[in-house]
Amino acid sequence: MTLRARAGRTGMMRAGMILPPVLLLALLFLYPLALVVRDSLSPDGAGGGALSTRAYSDVFGEASFRDALLNTIGIAAGATAGTLVLGFVLAFVVAFVPFPGSRALSRFIDVFLAFPSFLITLALLFVYGTVGMANGLWTDVTGASSGPFDFLHTPWGVLLAEVTYFTPFVMRPLLAAFAQTETAQLEAAASLGARPGRIVRQVVLPEALPALAAGGGLVLVLCLNEFGIVLFTGAKGVTTLPTLVYGKAILDGDYTGACVVAVVNVALSAALYGLYRMLLTRTGAHRARPV
């Protein structure tokens, strides 16, 4: 057999292995997505007739859409930043500051990842809701008729719930990364005169950057598309793109409008995630440089 024939046969075998999963992906994911895009461009909402961007103009002109867009970006960015900070601090403590129960806490984080998001919201309602424990304690102590905690239905409430729920998603990869960090490096840094703050900034953080990036990227995408938490906490005062899709499609019967918002949501997710990766690649360029 000639070299060319052998190469052709190898190429065919490779195509034969790749094609089935690609077709399955197209059938299960890309085709429904294509239907959503097509319907968002159909003037009558039934997918027929000439393509039109009129539905986009209509939706973009609505104040509710603009609010939902800003809420979505703001909450996702804030929750990602919050989980990165909180997750790093907590993971650092669990990994490097020995205390009784740290192993059990580490295991609990794994369990926490399996909890449904609305459960966290429900728990926060019990604690910070208008008739929750915090307000009850306040009224018992001060004798006032109502307590000061009334933020769960605002973007801050959604932010708190998302930071609480998604922090373990950052902690998990960080704990795995910290487990690989040599204690000898931290001790060498200390013996050279570095205080704990410098050791964290210049030794621990750079080595944890890939894990931090992985956790942050995951949280950003999940927050952009979070539905349960927003519905439970902020349904009255906060609308995001996923809840707007739900409102338009199920409550208003505006299927074309829902498709437009859904397309924007997908594009936003992809764009923000791309931006996030680009920023990380630039800030962490020294790690990626071939050696």
């Binding site: 040599e182 000898a184 001790e187 840094a189 013996s191 050279l192 570095a194 030794v203 080595e207």
Partner: protein, 380 residues
């Protein structure tokens, strides 16, 4: 003056506060004592090797100096200052560990500059000090490399440069050569010995379980066992007159035989074999006889006029059967079983042109001055 000499002079000028003192230091984890009432002084400019088996407490002693373990009782002094309560970053030491512990995301020059920045050395001085430390360790051509681009030996040189760049008065080395192969280890030992000569004010505390490293490098050796200091002295004194069977077996190799005093200058092995020993005024009861393998000769001892003779004064001549034979390149190790007890003596002799066969009857001899009597027991 060449660059190297200038660098050596600059670094020597910056070294201050050498010397370490352990003053009754005890370290314990709950009920387990890992360092017990430890007293030791390392003089400024001295290389002290802490030698002992795993779990003897030598690394704990080093970590107590570095500040990574807090003594339950006692004090640690560096340069005469009590540092027991100081955190590691305020102790002014340099440390080199077995796994190198270089920062993998930093280039070599950033690794070496790390301690200088942490100690707030003026920015303008840092580049010069980094170059000086790299030049001293022969790594000046590798400043732009990442640690993963270097061999184990090169990484260890960078770790030493990083520790020396801050010009510490005390350099702690925790099994620094254990991760290197034999050839690299020999090279690094030579390098460390050169550094010691060039930096006479620098005190080094060198933790190792390898006696050859301790014998090569140390001015004094502290032998440790089961959390306690067993012996301390120069390599020569510990080798020639060890204080215990444990020290004898850990500093060089030794034949250690159970014996019993039977006069002022003689002991008796099991089975009644009488051995003349180094004059020590004698003793009573049980003892351990120590003879270094290279001080034992094979065959009859040479007489005063040359040919072998069994009647040389102060020479012990024993007869037995060969039970082991090892060729070691320049030498042979011959193990001889002594009747009637079956106690074994190993002799290390120059390579034999016609070595004895296993089971062959042979004679071995050694001078009374080379037979040292130690307190009974205590072998590891």
């Amino acid at each position: 003056m060449n660059v190297r000499a200038a660098n050596v002079r600059a670094m020597n000028g910056g070294i201050r506060n050498g010397g370490i003192r352990f003053d009754g230091v005890t370290v314990a984890y709950d009920a387990t004592v890992v360092l017990d009432d430890f007293d030791l002084t390392v003089e400024p400019g001295e290389v002290m090797a802490l030698l002992g088996p795993s779990g003897s407490g030598k690394t704990t002693a080093l970590r107590a100096v570095a500040g990574f373990v807090r003594p339950r009782t006692g004090r640690v002094l560096i340069g005469g200052q009590d540092v027991t309560a100081l955190p590691p970053h305020r102790r002014g030491i340099g440390m080199v560990v077995q796994q190198y512990a270089l920062f993998p995301h930093m280039r070599v020059e950033a690794n070496v500059a790390f301690g200088l920045k942490a100690r707030k050395v003026p920015r303008g001085e840092i580049a010069g000090r980094v170059a000086e430390a790299l030049e001293m360790t022969g790594m000046d051509g590798f400043a732009e490399r990442y640690p993963r681009e270097l061999s184990g030996g090169q990484q260890q040189r960078v770790a030493i440069a990083r520790a020396l760049a801050v010009r510490p008065g005390v350099l702690l080395l925790d099994e620094p050569l254990s991760a290197l192969d034999a050839r690299l280890r020999a090279g690094m030992l030579t390098e460390l010995a050169r550094l010691h000569r060039e930096l006479p004010g620098l005190s080094m505390l060198y933790v190792t379980h390898d006696q050859s490293e301790a014998l090569t490098l140390a001015d004094r050796i502290a032998v440790m066992d089961r959390a306690r200091l067993r012996d301390c002295g120069t390599p020569q004194s510990l080798y020639r007159a060890p204080g215990s069977a444990f020290t004898a077996s850990f500093v060089g190799s030794a034949n250690l035989l159970a014996a019993r005093w039977c006069g002022e200058d003689a002991v008796e092995l099991d089975g009644g074999v009488r051995i003349r020993v180094r004059g020590s005024g004698g003793g009573e009861g049980e003892a351990t006889l120590c003879i270094r393998p290279h001080l034992i000769g094979l065959g009859e001892p040479p007489g005063p006029s040359g040919p072998p003779s069994p009647d040389v004064p102060d020479m012990n001549v024993l007869h037995g059967a060969v039970t082991g034979l090892q060729w070691r390149g320049a030498s042979h190790r011959v193990t001889v079983s002594l009747p009637p007890s079956g106690a074994e003596l190993t002799a290390e002799v120059r390579e034999l042109s016609s070595p004895p066969a296993l089971g062959e009857k042979v004679s071995v001899h050694f001078a009374a001055a080379d037979a040292v009597v130690l307190p009974p027991g205590g072998t590891p």
